[in-house]
């Protein structure tokens, strides 16, 4: 079963060193590191890379903080919380391509709900969400934060169930404040179950394709709103530069592998300490 994942990996590595494209589809030849050199010589690689980092950090930050906060709040014995939980899960329940198209509609300059609210309810100037390079980067971030917080909320909710109630009772006897209980009991006890979700969340966000692609219509305006993965997708399926895209994805893979090794080492150090 792992071959479903590992075979494509290997195939892609081989592809990265050949010259497969629309013009060389059947007969390909070995071209060595040509694509890699071309990518590193291209200044847009660095700006897209920087944007991908910002995109990932901002998204994951909001996913985790909102998710943990809502998870803890909704774990309280409040009447009606079952209904609120069902409502809060909605962004996750809606298939991504539908959400992306819906948000694209809401970002419409003239007819979109967001600009209508800004101008009519708050009397502010409309925001050029999809035609300005800066806002066209903010728009998919807003969409993706909306999409992602329920997932972290559910993981938090599951993690909270593994914390024995006795720990809170003991803390109450010792006169701990709510804040102390949060930082000394809840968050450390959540760590083992949140950690893999966060590591994978970083990887998924880094490699996001649907949202950025659909909300910005493939990098509009003028290819200024790409992250690495949409850039690769455009190279492969709009320009048919298969090997170039393959080489590019090898680079992304190596970046993420570096990230993984780093987190693994940090975890090991914490476990050892």
């Amino acid at each position: 079963m792992l071959s479903v994942v590992f075979y494509p990996l290997l195939y892609n590595f081989l592809l990265a060193f050949r010259n497969m494209s629309l013009y060389h589809f059947q007969v390909t030849e070995f071209v060595g590191l040509r694509h890699f050199r071309a990518i590193f010589a291209d200044p847009s690689f660095y700006s897209v890379f920087a944007k991908t980092l910002v995109w990932t950090v901002v998204n994951v930050f909001f996913h985790v903080t909102l998710g943990v906060m809502l998870g803890i709040l909704i774990n309280r014995p409040l009447p009606g919380r079952a209904v609120m939980r069902a409502l809060l899960i909605l962004p996750w329940a809606v298939p991504q391509y539908i959400s992306a198209l819906t948000w694209k509609g809401m970002f419409n300059y003239e007819y979109g709900a967001i600009n209508l609210m800004l101008t009519r309810l708050l009397h502010l100037a409309p925001v050029p969400w999809l035609s300005d390079a800066f806002w066209a980067f903010v728009a998919p971030i807003l969409t993706n934060v909306w999409l992602g917080f329920p997932f972290m909320m559910i993981v938090t909710l599951g993690g909270l169930q593994s914390i024995p109630q006795e720990m809170y009772e003991a803390a109450d006897i010792d006169g701990a404040t709510a804040f102390q209980k949060l930082t000394r009991i809840t968050l450390p006890m959540l760590a083992p179950i949140l950690a893999p979700a966060i590591v994978l969340g970083v990887v998924w966000t880094f490699n996001n394709l649907n949202i950025v692609w659909l909300v910005t219509e493939g990098g509009r305006p003028a290819d200024q709103s790409h992250i690495l993965n949409t850039y690769i997708y455009k190279s492969a399926f709009a320009y048919n530069r298969y090997s170039y895209a393959a080489a590019f994805s090898v680079i992304v893979f190596l970046i993420l592998l570096g990230f993984l090794l780093l987190t693994a080492r940090t975890q090991k150090r914490q476990a050892g300490a």
């Binding site: 079963m1 479903v4 994942v5 494509p8 809502l70 709040l73 909704i74 774990n75 309280r76 014995p77 409040l78 609120m84 939980r85 069902a86 409502l87 809060l88 899960i89 909605l90 962004p91 996750w92 809606v94 298939p95 391509y97 539908i98 959400s99 819906t102 509609g105 419409n108 003239e110 007819y111 709900a113 009519r120 909306w146 559910i154 599951g158 169930q161 593994s162 109630q165 006795e166 809170y168 179950i193 950690a195 893999p196 979700a197 590591v199 994978l200 990887v203 998924w204 490699n207 394709l209 649907n210 993965n229 997708y233 492969a236 298969y242 895209a245 994805s249 893979f253 993420l256 993984l260």
Partner: protein
């Protein structure tokens, strides 16, 4: 219900409850609003996508598009395909992740670290570039245009998260419980099934939801693997409504809402396990 009784002891102050309500209600509104937008589009007659009104329900609302999607389009066929596929993927993922996660958490064996890291590594590759090789591989082993092929691909992609979540959750369960079960004469398998698994219900619920969602709304891989319309899953079916000449927006929106329904139902039915509080008192003594 044992959980609820135990939980009241932790109830915060009145003011705290009020603040919690306020925050939760704000986020409920944010979570629901875009879905309401889709609902509004579904209610519009004809295919009027753009409107400068902020009203959710248009004055000339009609349920026509729901009727069209349910009875005039092959929606029920897509639904059947998706339900069967997602159910199979969910069951297989849970079975594999529950056992593999347990092995990774409790046993020390050669290649344990490597195995765990390898699971994560599979997630690092940009999905776009896996599509072409996946197509070539499936063509070679005759899994193209088959539900089995799609299912295998979904289980393989959902496994890393599922295994890591199960492992993380098992780590929080004290080992004494299994040791006690072993002393009471249960075998290792019995201890796992009768003692550990019930305690791991919240993690199992997360795993189930995740693998269900992974196959329920996945589009790119399905697009590559399935070509016969009889095999279409819901995302492919909906996409075919966004036709080449004119998108049937109202039908598309109505279909989208119907696609979300089973997920919400599944979530509500798994809720019980997520908030079970089964560990309460489990570690006493």
């Amino acid at each position: 219900m044992a959980g609820r009784a135990g939980r009241t002891s932790r109830g915060g102050s009145r003011a705290g409850d009020f603040a919690a309500y306020a925050v939760l209600l704000v986020f409920c509104a944010i979570a629901v609003y875009p879905v309401l937008q889709v609902f509004g589009i579904a209610l519009r007659p004809a295919d009027r996508l753009y409107s400068t009104s902020l009203a959710i329900i248009p004055p000339d609302a009609t349920l026509h598009s729901f009727r069209v999607i349910l009875f005039e389009k092959p929606f029920l066929l897509w639904l059947r395909n998706s339900v069967l596929l997602a159910a199979a993927v969910t069951l297989v993922s849970i079975a594999l992740a529950a056992t593999a996660g347990y092995a990774f958490s409790r046993y020390r064996f050669r290649g344990r670290e490597t195995g765990l890291q390898a699971f994560l590594m599979t997630q690092m590759f940009p999905a776009t570039m896996l599509l072409l090789p996946l197509y070539v591989l499936f063509k070679r082993v005759h899994l193209l245009d088959s539900m089995l092929g799609l299912g295998v691909a979904y289980v393989a992609t959902a496994m890393p998260f599922c295994v890591w979540t199960m492992k993380g959750y098992y780590e929080t369960l004290p080992k004494d419980l299994e040791e006690a079960a072993l002393i009471d004469g249960m075998g290792p398998w019995g201890a796992f099934v009768r003692v550990v698994l019930p305690l791991a219900a919240p993690a199992l619920a997360i795993t189930a939801l995740f693998s269900f969602m992974a196959s329920w709304s996945e589009f790119m891989v399905a697009r590559v693997i399935l070509t016969r319309p009889q095999l279409f899953t819901l995302p492919l079916g909906l996409e075919s409504l966004a036709g080449t000449f004119q998108t049937e927006w109202a039908n598309y929106a109505a279909g989208s809402l119907l696609v979300c329904l089973p997920v919400v139902v599944l979530f509500i039915s798994l809720n019980r396990f997520l908030i079970s509080g089964l560990t309460l008192g489990g570690v006493k003594g």
